[in-house]
């Protein structure tokens, strides 16, 4: 394979919720959460996509390039990806990309990625914060390449296929009700990766040191022409009302009685 890339980071940047007790607080105008309460970390589904890219490289060779479109602060996440083992990075930077929707983020990366001619583009299924799950398929459409989503297994066959890398692959996507669809894809193609497809590795001290010397190319959004204005506007954010408090019941017989007579669900 010529290249493997972990593209984009679905939400451009993930707002990671890192403790289970964490309750979001809203900004004064109630249009977003207070960013000082959250930390910007690698979007978890993207971490699985990166891991899959690293595993494919270990098996089939090639190179893992991290691509992201976003404001300057995404470089922290890019460095993390390099520390975990990616070879180099490409960052299309613009402050306005912090509010980009999928179409704008895909447009920002399309130019840069066309120049690179990747064989395989991997993204996380969705972002932890907005969860649009649009970026991957939209980018595939812009690049005129096939895609498949909710991927749970990737089998690359280096000996067959007519793609530019001379490889093709079969991928397993998750459907409902315990069903899975296997799709055959040429290269180049784009996959969105389901969380849990593999076991994540974390950066080692050696990896962190090595990452400092790895190439990180920054391009300005303006180099690729204007990005479309976001078509989706966030008007407000509300927190759901807490569930009414439940009850601790003494034992199993009491539970069954209450489920049958009070909740009427048995």
């Amino acid at each position: 394979m010529k290249n493997v890339v972990i593209g984009g980071f679905e939400g451009v940047e993930g707002v990671k919720i890192f403790t289970r007790e964490w309750q979001p607080r809203l900004t004064d105008d109630k249009t977003w959460i207070r960013e000082q309460d959250a930390s910007f970390e690698m979007n978890e589904p993207d971490a699985y996509a990166l891991e899959e890219a690293l595993r494919l490289r270990e098996k089939h060779g090639g190179e893992v390039v991290v691509c992201s479109a976003g404001p300057a602060r995404v470089q922290q996440v890019i460095r993390e990806a390099l520390a975990r083992g990616a070879d180099r990075a490409l960052h299309v930077e613009d402050q306005a990309l912090g509010a980009a929707d999928a179409a704008a983020a895909a447009a920002a990366l399309t130019g840069a990625m066309t120049e690179e001619r990747f064989d395989l583009v991997l993204t996380g299924l969705q972002s932890d914060d907005q969860g649009h799950a649009q970026f991957g398929p939209v980018l595939a459409e812009k690049l005129s390449i096939p895609h498949s989503t909710i991927i749970m297994e990737v089998n690359v066959d280096p000996s067959t296929g007519s793609g530019q890398g001379g490889s093709s692959m079969r991928v397993k996507r998750e459907l409902e009700g315990g069903w899975f669809q296997w799709v055959a894809l040429p290269m180049p193609a784009l996959l969105t990766i389901q969380s849990g497809i593999n076991q994540l590795r974390y950066a080692t001290l050696k990896g962190i040191m090595a990452a400092k010397k790895k190439p990180l190319e920054t391009k300005k959004l303006a180099d690729y022409g204007a990005s479309p204005p976001p078509a989706i506007k966030e008007l407000s954010v509300t927190l759901p009302p807490p569930r009414p408090p439940g009850q601790i019941v003494a034992d199993i017989p009491t539970l069954v009685k209450k489920l049958a007579e009070e909740a009427k669900v048995l």
Binding site: W22, G178, P186, A189, G196, I232, T238, R243
Partner: protein, 326 residues
């Protein structure tokens, strides 16, 4: 003014239950847009399912074509985009299923449409017709978003919409053509099933889920016994699926399935936000955990502080007793 094109999945000669959530949304959207609901059925068997679809929509368009024998985003997305234009649609919508989530972003890109994914509802009418409410931050908050493009794309979260009822008449059925179909080299390979007699996790009325505290996959057998007694689907927390105790597609949570059954059992599950996002829409939640401080008890309607090793066999025997007494 514009119509609402609702891409509906079907099985055999009827619409899937998931498609009825889509049509429920489509009716609301059609009212706001001053147009009609058009149900779009694509693929082999579309004609056969059209009579059923016509009970739920005033207009039905079917597209059958040898090149559309298996679902692929590459071939279906241009068909949806083409039919949207031909039918003067200002809204294109699908349920957020494995197919809907896969095809709609591509449709949106083809139509230069802004897209709202996985919506939970339409915002109050005063906010404009293209304003929707959708869950964000793993279900910890809801965002109200407005789409500003002339054509918009939407996927709807099945559990947030009551299935559309029959209209009490029969809609008009017509055929559409697929146009040029190019799979860009992608091809359907085959379908695999993890055979199970249990109901689908997404549709089940009762779900029994286990977490990290179950310790091993072998230990899930007792939960499966409980599930089979109740006709329930099996679920699991991310911790249990990541540890390889049970299949990955049992996962309930932000990164797994979103479920809203009548009755949800969370056994030996701590209640991480990730998991709560997938099940807190359940009508009645039962938590069984040996640690009384676990956050799962904050969302549970009924909590029992007990070790599962003792509690589950007792629960099975008590439910059997209850059933025998009826």
């Amino acid at each position: 003014m514009g119509n609402v094109l609702a891409f509906c999945e079907f099985q055999g000669d009827s619409l899937r239950t998931s498609a009825l959530a889509n049509l429920a949304f489509a009716r609301q959207a059609a009212q706001a847009h001053g147009g009609d609901v058009i149900a779009l059925l694509v693929g082999p068997g579309a004609q056969a399912a059209s009579a059923n679809a016509a009970k739920f929509a005033p207009k039905v368009v079917v597209v059958e074509d040898g090149k559309l024998d298996h679902y692929l985003a590459e071939t279906y997305a241009p068909v949806l985009a083409k039919l949207a234009k031909e039918n003067n649609a200002s809204v294109v919508t699908a349920t957020a299923t494995a197919v809907g989530k896969d095809v709609m972003p591509r449709v949106a890109a083809l139509l230069d449409a802004g897209m709202a994914s996985d919506i939970a509802g339409i915002a109050s009418p005063g906010d404009g017709k293209n304003t929707f409410v959708r869950p964000i931050l793993a279900g910890n908050a809801y965002s109200t978003v407005q789409i500003s493009t002339p054509i918009i794309a939407v996927t709807v979260r099945q559990s947030e919409f009551e299935p559309a009822g029959e209209l009490g008449g029969s809609g008009a059925v017509s055929s559409g053509s697929a146009g040029d179909v190019n799979a860009l080299g992608a091809a359907f390979d085959h379908i695999d099933a993890q055979k199970s007699d249990r109901p689908d996790l997404g549709d089940a009325k009762v779900v029994v889920s286990g977490g990290r505290g179950m310790k091993t996959g072998e230990n899930f057998k007792v939960l499966e016994e409980l599930a089979d007694l109740l006709g329930a689907a099996m679920g699991a927390s991310r911790a249990a699926t990541d540890a390889g105790m049970v299949p990955a597609d049992w996962q309930v949570g932000q990164t797994g399935k979103i479920v809203a059954p009548n009755l949800y059992f969370a056994v030996a599950i701590s209640g991480a936000i990730q998991h709560l996002a997938g099940m807190k829409g359940s009508k009645t939640i039962v938590a069984i955990n040996k640690n009384k401080d676990e956050p799962i008890f904050q969302v549970a309607d009924y909590g029992v502080v007990a070790e599962w090793e003792k509690a589950i066999p007792e629960l099975i025997s008590e439910i059997k007793k209850l059933k025998a007494s009826r």
